[in-house]
Amino acid sequence: MAHQAHSYHMVDPSPWPILGATAALLTTSGLIMWFHFNTSYLLALGLLSMLLVMLQWWRDIVRESTFQGHHTPTVQKGLRYGMILFITSEAFFFLGFFWAFFHSSLAPTPELGGQWPPTGINPLNPLEVPLLNTAILLASGVTVTWAHHSITESNRKQAIQALALTILLGFYFTALQATEYYEAPFSIADGVYGSTFFVATGFHGLHVIIGSSFLSVCLLRLIKFHFTSNHHFGFEAAAWYWHFVDVIWLFLYMTIYWWGS
């Protein structure tokens, strides 16, 4: 049986890319059916198939790396580039919403009362729950770094504790933000203030949930001995993503919550 004479990973044929693309088709068509015809079956089917594809695709990557040893340093370098590029693309995604916020808030129109916050809008006090949320995410940045150091020092118990604490802080942030959304005196329909506030913070919240899920999978893998002290890129990728989510929040807090009040 011939061995490969290179350090790259030639993957087994896999159905997940095409099924993932199909799931995207079902999800987008499902959105159309929901918006225009008030039926959500197709959307549910799309989201379910998307979830199944993600689970199996990422499960296979764990199998290929931890169980089959295909992730050589060369492969890992490629994955690092990939994650950096993905996070960069997400940064540009948020840049758009920040642009929209500044477009409307730097030169408020007469329809808004020529002021920001617009007439009639009572913004949230940035020194109350939003400040607590800032502290929570900053603390979670510390705990995820603590977890990383524990992994490199082969300290299993501390790594598990630190990562679990990080995830709990993430859930705490999400719960507090949910109550803020519920209690807010303004809604997404309240002019451009409502739109910019809820779309920007809403997408951020979605990314917190995604980041918390990624970290949770890492916690499960950490408990199951998948990581070694110098090969744990899945965890590093999750930690990078988590720091990114933290930085976006800091920008949101300083611009929309603080300057924008």
């Binding site: 896999s14 082969s154 090969h231």
Partner: protein, 94 residues
């Protein structure tokens, strides 16, 4: 000439184990904090030379999940095409 010696080895490849670095499992035997290390067993299972692709390597549970996903996606696509076809028909105005 009796067969040339092959350039590449014809024996099955040695199993790949990540043992060159200190494992998180290098703990004293008494410390089984949250379960024991099953990674070596799984490495053996997933490196079996049975020709199965990685997404079906575990056998029955993998096959079931794959077929379910396939069924939902293909069924969904048919439903999607029908729904889009119907949505593109002009509505009759009274």
């Amino acid at each position: 000439m009796q067969g040339l010696k092959p350039i590449v080895s014809t024996e099955s490849p040695a199993l790949i184990f990540g043992t060159t670095t200190k494992l998180a499992s290098d703990l004293p035997a008494t410390d089984s904090f949250l379960g024991k290390n099953k990674v070596p067993d799984l490495q053996k299972l997933f490196q079996k030379a049975d020709g199965l692709p990685v997404h079906l390597k575990r056998g029955v549970p993998d096959k079931l999940l794959y077929r379910t996903t396939m069924a939902l996606t293909i069924g969904g696509t048919i439903y999607c095409l029908i729904a889009l076809y119907m949505a593109s028909q002009p509505r009759n105005q009274k």
